[in-house]
Amino acid sequence: MDTKAKLQILSGAARYDASCASSGSRREGPSSGTGNTSTSGICHSWADDGRCISLLKILLSNDCIYDCAYCVNRSTNPVERASFTAREVIDLTLEFYRRNYIEGLFLSSAVMQSPDHTMERMVRVAETLRTEEQFGGYIHMKIIPGCSSELVRKAGLYADRISVNIELPSQASLQRLAPQKHKHAILEPMALIGREIATSLVERKVCRHAPRFAPAGQSTQMIIGASPENDFQILRLSQGLYKKMNLKRVYYSAYVPVTADNRLPALAAPPLRREHRLYQADWLLRFYGFSAEEILSDEAPHLDESFDPKTAWALRHPEFFPVEVNRADYATLLRVPGIGVVSAKRIVAARRFSPITPEGLKKIGVVIKRAKYFIICSGRSSEKPDQSPTVIRQRLLLGAGGETAVSAHPEQLVLPGLFA
């Protein structure tokens, strides 16, 4: 099989992994080699699905011994199998990098023979790239659950980011859909990576030349809509990962039906809106000072389909509003629907010079479509004061400031047999 055919099979098999970040690491390029990394990350293209391409995202092999129901590469799925040699991956990476197609390599793999065998081959690719080819670009490597901790440590020394995919948000779902994967085989390496990153940061404070361990941190991914967990369970899990394991990112991947299996839900389309809402809630956890318990509860465990999670929170908490834009502190501004990190910072910076009027608010680029129901500005409000949440809810839904409330196609999950 030629390289092109392999590339088609092994990039097609890797595309369901959502992560493509190339940020968080800063490395000067070696003078005789190729590549450096930039803190902000760089996107090099956008695929036809609108998602950014910054890394050459491929599997080393799709020849899997596991039989996970949700996965396109499951051993019982009759797809064409292929495996790259280390040399092929290295050459592709370098040829693409030299032409500025990519920011680096994202290497994952199906489990060939055993987790250790697979991980060893993956680490060898990264090692050759870094030492022999003096490659200074970005490398994101997946950790195969169940491989030895020695290999995890080695991977962290060569890669900028390493990640272990949780895939399914509960042990019960794992058992049903991925019987060969175990919770502890996923969480143990995650904890190990967290510890190694922390140690490396301390060592580098003492000695600048101490080796770096996964300088861009670790991330993980969960599949949304393949198993019955509710949004509250998922968000609490993410919150724990951010707080306890110090993860940089949790990715949510709307389940795309890739195999017919009666253990899996039949979906008309991938639950993209749910994925979108989860990302919004995730942002609230990371940048807006919200906790999972503020966003959802056991009584209302699902994110609102028609409102973003912050608007939904605001509608439940009328006592918090209206907020006076000229006096509220940064944390309070961040709680206003429609005001994000950029707008809140702009407001704080602009009011140092003069009080902000409603017109001034528009001028500095704050979008008040949604915010107008929740703010007053120099004592003035562009909306009638004291509207009840029910009225605001209706006006937002009528398009006077809400996101499109009606989805274009049905995204309601049909989960036959799952709750039985």
Binding site: Q8, G50, E95, R98, A350, R352
Partner: protein, 245 residues
Amino acid sequence: MNSYLYDGTADGLLSAISWILEEEADPEKVTLSERKDTLFEEGFTISTDAPRAESLFFRLKQHAPDAAHTLYSFMLAEKGEMETSLLHYVSLAFRHGDQVKGYLTHPAIRDIVNVAKKAGRELHRMKGLLRFEKLQDGAYLAKMEPDCNIIHPLAYHFSRRLRAQHWFLYDVKRRTAARWNNGSLQFGTIEQFTTPALSEDEKKVQALWQAFFKTISIPDRKNPRLQKSNMPMKYWKYLVEKQGE
């Protein structure tokens, strides 16, 4: 209200601003524009003084490095008819320091910051969207047609990145070029450009990239609108993956 004119060059603009800041009691009450030599043009022409222009930029950099960077980005955009705004911006930057970028309720600040942001965005975009082709002699060439004149900072970026490679950048519209070879970066203009021959394996690598680009997208999630908003069509001309579409 006094009106001033300058010769239309970047040095001329900065030396005029420098002169006005020193001579005028309230620079915010003054206008500045390019001299067009029309019959009814009124105003006092300030002569161009390159060292003076440089010194103004240097002083601003010392005083407010962020604001100086905004000024630099603004100049990359080559935007005409905004000289008065720039004058007011620089004057306010000397008064308020780097905090000035937050003063977005002021029209001059807003105009300058927005234009600078546009140039900065395009520079960042081109760091990703530039495509090199390998030539027969082993060097690499990238052609581009950006809105802003970003070849200097862009070439600097690649000089830190593709250090062991011999490469050229060519701005097709402005006919300017940058060259990196053996650790030195040079800039120049090209009067007549002839496309050099590509290396033998170039088309093969391009075909691999095109194949990757096609298969990496998830068919069930096709979203051309999102793709175009992230990657405007004006940049497609030189994108290997968008050829033949």
